[in-house]
């Protein structure tokens, strides 16, 4: 990786880490993540508001979450929440899943993101690792149509069973498209 910009940003991160305890902790976790799962597994590392955020590929997500649960150093034992997200403009990365893990022992949180094409929304289930993932995944399926392979009971959970679309996708706006009084012509939005 002879990318000068990347080196610069790592150096900048290191100086920031020296000053801020949260950043220091996050840098340690990131180093551990890299040593456990390999550096190439993660991309787009950032720390919005002090919460370490990494992006990975869907092939790795099950292994990472299982590994983090078993890891004796990090002890990410707790799946706080997960949710889907939809970016229609990102070609072949339209859908995403965002996982929040929490290490109750060290009181650190970790956010893991994966993105995948809307045409092939298949993600391995985490319900074999965390019982809590069962309904969270059903919710993500219900809202975004993400298919979780290996899920024991992947049915809609909040919406009616015979709904034939996935309502949280951005292609379904909230307001009725035929209404003129709600358009924001005057405010340029």
């Amino acid at each position: 990786m002879a990318d000068p910009t990347k080196e610069e940003s790592t150096a900048a991160q290191e100086t920031a880490a020296a000053q801020d305890p949260t950043a220091q902790q996050n840098a340690q976790i990131l180093a551990l993540l890299h040593s456990l799962f390999g550096e190439s597994t993660f991309s787009d590392v950032s720390e919005p508001y002090g919460l370490l955020t990494v992006t990975t590929k869907r092939e790795h997500i099950h292994g990472i979450v299982a590994g983090l649960q078993q890891d004796e150093t990090l002890k990410f034992h707790f799946l706080t929440t997960m949710c889907g997200i939809n970016y229609p403009e990102n070609l072949n990365q339209e859908l995403g899943m965002i996982y929040h893990l929490h290490s109750l022992v060290h009181n650190v949180r970790l956010r893991i993101k994966i993105f995948f094409p809307v045409a092939d929304p298949v993600v391995p289930t985490l319900s074999d690792i965390y019982a809590a993932a069962n309904w969270m995944e059903r919710e993500a399926y219900d809202f975004y149509g993400v298919i979780f392979t290996g899920h024991p009971n992947l049915r809609r959970i909040l919406n009616v069973d015979d709904m034939d679309y996935f309502p949280m996708r951005k292609q379904y706006p909230v307001e009725d498209g035929t209404r003129e009084d709600k358009t924001d012509l005057f405010f340029g939005r």
């Binding site: 919005p48 508001y49 919460l51 955020t53 034992h77 707790f78 799946l79 706080t80 929440t81 949710c83 997200i85 939809n86 965002i98 929040h100 109750l104 009181n107 949180r109 956010r111 965390y130 019982a131 809590a132 069962n134 309904w135 969270m136 919710e139 809202f143 024991p152 009971n153 809609r156 959970i157 909040l158 919406n159 009616v160 309502p167 949280m168 706006p173 909230v174 307001e175 405010f187 939005r189």
Partner: protein
């Protein structure tokens, strides 16, 4: 035949129940093979004499709209299949179209037993995104209101648990006090149940002398009632027989199921967001986190009772040390100006207009903020793309996550125990379904 209802048996039984509901009253060959050739009991298997019981969706004992299709062998529950979503209102979708201040009323309607906590949690999330620092006085007022809400929430849960075990009196005793809490809310923000309290940046108005007066009177009177309530239940033999060792859950299992709040603490894990990730100056106060040992209904009840006392401690400390100063942040872009200022001051008029029309852009970013809600870690995951509304807003609703364990917890218990477990878990339909 003796059933050993365990997790590996559950899935085929659930399938069998689903098939039965769909009208196919047959045991499939696959299901039989999964059971190691054993017969799977289904609805029409008269040799087993199983009954299907539809508990809910509108059953007075479930205190909300949830359905559980229970398969019962006499009084004993073999399996339960929960159906939720009866009051789903698509809050996450609606929130993508609303300016930030218009999302507060949506949060009211999640855990409607402790709306102020939801409101403040949402305000704090937006403040974190905007980088607004709230003055100490506003933080203390928030703490007071949030702890009042926690007391109201726990009072409802514990007293309803009493009602479900046949003790109606305690419920009436403490509901009078809950009414007084609502009067304090009314004095602070004008409404009672769905409070819409506070603003992004602080409180909408300062605590009035009347509010402080009401609060002080209530703080004096409430402990007597609470002691009476505890005297009625804590060592009551009839009550204890109904709740001790009913619906226990181990700490490992509770963590695996994503339990938070009093339910997790009853299982012996001292995880409390107020202590682990202090927000709104919780680090200034001294209080204890009660934990249980068994994670059974009795522990959940006792943990909630003790938390009420701890909340009282926090309120007393916050009220005694209430700092002087402004009750909202100096953030004119985000904090709605007063009506007088709008009439007299040009800038205030502009900001009023811009905020009300939702013309204030938020910075790009993503924030996860969590508060200790009435029944667990209430999280807000906000993704902002820089527009007037969130790009994505996800609520981590504690009920939704831990209610999954219910169908496992009721297996092997009796119907009356199932009702007691449900009330002691404090599942609020509004929060469950969002």
């Amino acid at each position: 035949m003796h059933y050993a209802p365990s997790t590996e048996h559950q899935a085929p039984i659930q399938m069998a129940v689903n098939d039965a509901l769909a009208g196919t009253h047959k045991i499939t060959e696959e299901a039989r093979e999964q059971q190691g050739g054993q017969l799977v009991p289904t609805l029409n298997d008269f040799s087993q004499e199983l009954t299907t019981l539809n508990l809910g969706p509108t059953h007075p004992a479930t205190h909300g709209i949830f359905q559980n299709i229970l398969q019962m062998d006499g009084e004993r529950i073999i399996s339960g299949v929960p159906t939720i979503g009866y009051i789903h209102r698509a809050f996450e979708k609606i929130a993508e179209r609303r300016p930030f201040y218009q999302i507060t009323p949506l949060t009211d309607r999640m855990n409607y037993c402790s709306s102020p906590i939801n409101n403040m949690g949402w305000h704090m999330t937006v403040e974190k995104l905007l980088g607004v620092t709230v003055p100490k006085r506003a933080q203390y007022i928030r703490v007071i209101m949030m702890e009042l809400a926690r007391i109201a929430d726990h009072l409802i849960c514990n007293s309803i648990l009493g009602v479900d075990t046949g003790a109606f009196t305690g419920f009436l005793y403490v509901f009078q006090e809950r009414e007084k809490i609502y009067e304090i809310y009314e004095e602070v923000c004008g409404s009672r149940l769905t409070t819409n309290m506070g603003r992004v940046g602080g409180m909408e108005r300062d605590l009035t002398p009347v509010a402080i007066d009401k609060l002080r009177t209530w703080l004096k009177e409430f402990p007597t009632v609470m002691k009476e309530f505890e005297a009625m239940f804590n060592r009551n033999r009839i009550f204890m027989d109904r709740v001790v060792n009913v619906g226990p859950i181990t700490a490992e299992k509770a963590l695996n199921y994503g339990f938070t709040g009093p339910n997790l603490r009853a299982a012996g894990v001292d995880y409390d967001v107020r202590v682990m990730n202090p927000y709104s100056s919780y680090e200034d106060f001294e209080f204890d986190i009660p934990v249980g040992t068994n994670g059974d209904t009795y522990d959940r009840f006792m943990v909630r009772n003790e938390e009420i006392w701890q909340s009282l401690r926090i309120i007393n400390q916050a009220l005694d040390r209430l700092p002087d100063g402004p009750f909202h942040a100096d953030a004119p872009h985000y904090y709605l100006p007063t009506k007088e200022a709008v009439y007299k001051n040009m800038e205030a008029l502009i900001y009023h207009f811009k905020i009300i029309m939702g013309e204030i852009d938020a910075p790009v970013g993503e924030v996860y903020h969590s508060v200790e809600g009435g029944n667990g870690e209430l999280g807000f995951y906000l993704v902002s793309d820089g527009g007037r509304t969130p790009y994505r807003l996800h609520f981590r609703r504690p009920c939704f996550i831990y209610y999954q364990a219910y169908s496992e917890m009721v297996v092997g218990t009796s119907l009356s125990d199932a009702i007691v477990i449900l009330s002691s878990m404090n599942v609020i339909a509004g929060e469950l379904d969002a």
